[in-house]
């Protein structure tokens, strides 16, 4: 079941029309997503909420161009991107999407600033003073003084801040966060969520994937996922 896109929202960044995703597990076909209609608009602060196995991670992977749907249509702005080549998906991941993962996924052999600069290299886009931009990003997440540290020298909360800075460095259209507080204690989790609130207030488009109702309800829109289907629920704040 799906609900129509609210009319009052801004420009549509990503639109999914009847998206399906099926996996083959031996002889069995698993339907992870079953006809999902969904739009993400500029400035949305949304949460994809659902229990384990509901299909929320698959939905995030499709939204983030990590995976390709097996049916339906997907648009980035006006451009159809349902069946683009892997190289083009990589490019879109580098330029249009920022990822924040539950387990931070920083590269341990790189310093904080090098981790943040990683998407810049892969975007193949010339950013004036990339180093300064990275430092600025790290300043925004409160880690400007730790740019040459290794991830192993940081706390969990600090690592997630670095991951957020990395996700934001290319000024992506959408920031996708998969259970971003799942590996953090409550104090650090609260700090990270505050940071997300702040980014959303600045006009960034954020989608949090979570199974935690309390986190989902901090956002302005909750998209419930169950058995591969989406129920959209608007939350006014």
């Amino acid at each position: 079941m799906s609900t129509p896109t609210p009319k009052r929202r801004g420009e549509v960044l990503i639109r999914l029309d009847g998206i399906r995703k099926e996996y083959q597990l031996g002889e069995t076909t698993v339907r992870a997503l079953d006809g999902v209609d969904l739009s993400i608009c500029r400035g949305d602060y949304s949460a994809i909420l659902g229990p384990s196995g509901s299909g929320k991670s698959t939905l995030m992977h499709i939204l983030g161009f990590m995976d390709q749907p097996t049916g339906g249509k997907m648009f980035l702005g006006e451009r159809e991107v349902s069946n683009i080549r892997p190289g083009d998906r990589s490019k879109l991941r580098a330029t249009e999407i920022g990822f924040v993962f539950q387990s931070f996924n920083l590269l341990s052999r790189l310093s904080v600033i090098e981790n943040v600069l990683l998407p810049v290299e892969y975007a193949r886009r010339k950013i004036e003073n990339a180093d300064e931009t990275a430092v600025e990003m790290l300043n925004r997440v409160g880690l400007g003084h730790r740019i040459h540290h290794r991830p192993s020298q940081l706390s969990g909360g600090e690592r997630q801040r670095v991951a957020i800075a990395r996700a934001m460095i290319n000024k992506p259209r959408i920031l996708l966060a998969d259970e971003p507080t799942g590996n953090l204690d409550s104090r650090n989790a609260a700090n990270i969520l505050e940071l997300f609130d702040h980014l959303a207030d600045e006009g960034n488009t954020l989608v949090l994937v979570t199974h935690d109702e309390s986190i989902a309800h901090r956002t302005r829109r909750v998209i419930r996922v169950l058995d591969g289907k989406v129920t959209e629920e608007e939350v006014e704040r």
Partner: protein, 410 residues
């Protein structure tokens, strides 16, 4: 920019796992070191042969020996006068391709005496052309000239070993007299001292034992006839050999009344044999070095496969933030190439040490090429190629990883 970054990261990865990288490059180090060292040794061997070959007349030298007449001509063999000084004169007059000709009148081993000093020697009667045919250089005085031959003068040119045995140190032999079979000969020239170490011995020592007298003098004073032991010739161009041989055969058969009691020898066979030997050495040693490089390559591939497995999650992260499959492919290829190229450089350094040790311990080590530049460049390029090749499969495997699966990998 991305290529520079990936290359920098590749080098850093190798550096950050120094010990593992070193272990994986051992095969390449030993492979390149043995390849370069073997080429150095083979080049030494080639040099040995080339110097010896050139110093004893080169490919342009032809020798005519006396042989027994063939069986079907045995009953008329008496019709031939045998190899004589007249044959030499006939060849000189009618075979223009034979640019240098000299008879060799061997009077056998005899004693050479000077005062109370004596030594064994084997004087040979020759003409001035022998100097060019067999590359003799006069260090002092002059060589035997045409007039010496014409007048059958009792003059002699001796090698450095003869001087060492018959004269005091610092004594000038020119103008002094030596006696051969009790006949006095005036020393008119001393030959250069020849030294060329091969298998721990001086390969050119025979030249230092030389004692040359005019061919006519040897014939008249010692042989009592016109016969010669052999005729030596030299053409100016190697290509002339093909035409020279039939011309020589014609002249000699005519002069020997059709009796084939001579043999014309060129040095092509000797050269071909050496070239065959050189080829077998090159192939077998190259094969050994090739196998060790192959083993080194497999070692690198093995390590790189382990590295890919170890870094699956990192590959997932890189892909998630925008790395293309080609970026991942190139990153791992750079790492395997860096390991291999650094191994190649170490191998080249080790080869210098190998060659130094070999030159000290093996008998003809003096002529080993201690710094075979071409082999080093080849070894370096080859190590890079091995790194590229052995990195292809691991890099391909890494590039093909699905980012979602890679990120789930624990």
């Amino acid at each position: 920019m991305i290529i520079a970054t990936i290359t920098k990261q590749g080098i850093r990865e190798v550096w950050s796992h120094k010990f593992r990288s070193f272990l994986s490059m051992i095969g390449i180090i030993l492979g390149v070191a043995s390849l370069v060292a073997m080429i150095g040794v083979v080049q030494g061997m080639i040099k040995n042969f080339t110097v010896f070959f050139e110093e004893t007349g080169g490919i342009e030298k032809v020798t005519i020996n006396s042989t027994e007449a063939p069986e079907e001509q045995q009953h008329i063999a008496f019709l031939s006068p045998g190899l004589t000084i007249s044959d030499f004169q006939a060849i000189e007059a009618s075979v223009p391709l034979a640019e240098y000709v000299s008879p060799e009148v061997d009077i056998g081993w005899t004693r050479m005496v000077r005062g109370n000093k004596r030594t064994g020697s084997r004087p040979k009667g020759v003409t001035s052309d022998i100097q060019i045919i067999e590359n003799y250089e006069v260090a002092e005085g002059r060589f035997i000239g045409d007039l010496d031959n014409l007048h059958a003068r009792p003059v002699i040119v001796i090698g450095s070993e003869m001087v060492r045995r018959l004269y005091e140190r610092g004594e000038d032999p020119i103008g002094t007299q030596v006696r051969i079979m009790n006949q006095p000969f005036t020393v008119i020239g001393v030959l250069k001292n020849y030294e060329f170490n091969q298998n721990g011995r001086n390969a050119l020592r025979r030249k230092n034992w030389a004692a040359f007298i005019p061919a006519q003098t040897a014939a008249q004073r010692f042989r009592g006839d016109n016969s010669v032991s052999e005729l030596l010739l030299k053409v100016s161009r190697y290509e002339d050999l093909r035409d020279l041989i039939p011309q020589l055969e014609n002249v000699l058969l005519q002069r020997h009344n059709g009796i084939e009691d001579f043999e014309i020898e060129t040095r092509e066979e000797q050269l071909a044999e050496f070239q065959q030997l050189e080829k077998s050495f090159t192939y077998s040693l190259g094969g050994v070095a090739g196998i060790s490089l192959l083993v080194g390559g497999i070692g690198i591939m093995n390590v790189m496969l382990a590295v890919v497995s170890e870094r699956i999650r990192e590959i997932g992260v890189r892909k998630a933030v925008g790395a293309r499959s080609s970026d991942i492919f190139f990153q791992f290829l750079v790492e395997s190439t860096v390991i291999s190229v650094v191994g190649g450089v170490f191998g080249i350094l080790l080869s210098v040490a190998f060659l130094q040790i070999l030159s000290t311990f093996i008998p003809d080590g003096d002529n080993i090429n201690l710094f075979p530049g071409n082999a080093m460049i080849f070894g370096f390029i080859f190590s890079g190629a091995v790194g590229l090749f052995s990195g292809l499969y691991p890099a391909f495997k890494a590039a093909q990883l699905d980012p979602i699966e890679a990120l789930r990998y624990e």
